[in-house]
Subunit: 149 residues, 2 copies
Amino acid sequence: METGMAIGELARRTGTKVQTIRYYEQIGLLPEPLRTAGGQRRYGEAERRRLGFVRHARELGFGLEAIRELLDLAADPGRDCAHADRIAKANLGDVRRKIARLQALEQELARMVEECRGGRVEECRVLEVLADHDLCLSPEHAPPASPEP
Amino acid sequence: METGMAIGELARRTGTKVQTIRYYEQIGLLPEPLRTAGGQRRYGEAERRRLGFVRHARELGFGLEAIRELLDLAADPGRDCAHADRIAKANLGDVRRKIARLQALEQELARMVEECRGGRVEECRVLEVLADHDLCLSPEHAPPASPEP
DNA sequence: CCTACGATCTCCAGTGGCTGTAGCTTCAAG
DNA sequence: CTTGAAGCTACAGCCACTGGAGATCGTAGG
């Protein structure tokens, strides 16, 4: 009879770590699966698809709360999809802001590294720039919109 | 006599939160400052410059461990600056990898959002793409090199 | 049936870089 | 001397996992 797959196989098939699957279950992102008599988790295709959705959304930068909402929406096919659209747009905005910020950093870092001609620390451009913000071309590299890695 | 500034003023002058300053002290990034008889911290110009260096480096994306190394280097002006250069280059590489990854995400998200013409969830392009990785143009949006926000 | 061994179990702690809270004490102005 | 802002310590929480300890389960081979 259909017994389902163990957590390790689900992990392998979705490119997720075993602990991460258990974590998703713990925070209620995945439902509690069936268990064997001995207490081990067994999963079916529905769970595999759900986890696939989660992983894919994560890869695209969605946060777990956003994913929770998206899963709720997907479970209710008759509803208007404006909400899903809004979530995706918010995420896109986030991603774009992060790109803009990182590009500003890249400019400063590249200039800093390029100007360092490898003498002694005394005359190191890298340390000099770090010590004095005024040496930056754009003093506008403010802290990020959303928290940094 | 010179009593130095309180933590709040240092915070204001460097654009740092008070708790963050205490946290930096706790992890040994800033030295323990002088205290008043009542136990409050008092800072001088040297500390202000050091914190300024830290904040500036943070804004440029350096991690606290990298900053610790940079501070050590800066304290020793006779040494070769190759190490500082290496740290900065590593950070630049990190930033560039993050940009590349985010740009890939941006592509997918933008396409996803654009194709969603706001019908019902049933026919929502956003949810469809999330449910089926094969609908992505580049299946190459792998997990990030360094951990995500 | 027994053993061996990998897979799985639960629980807990740690990551980075802060941020917020509770319940105090201290400082400085009036 | 009073008051109110600012400081103090200690600890919990954030996100999204990740790793480890130590026990148990499942299954293949003998």
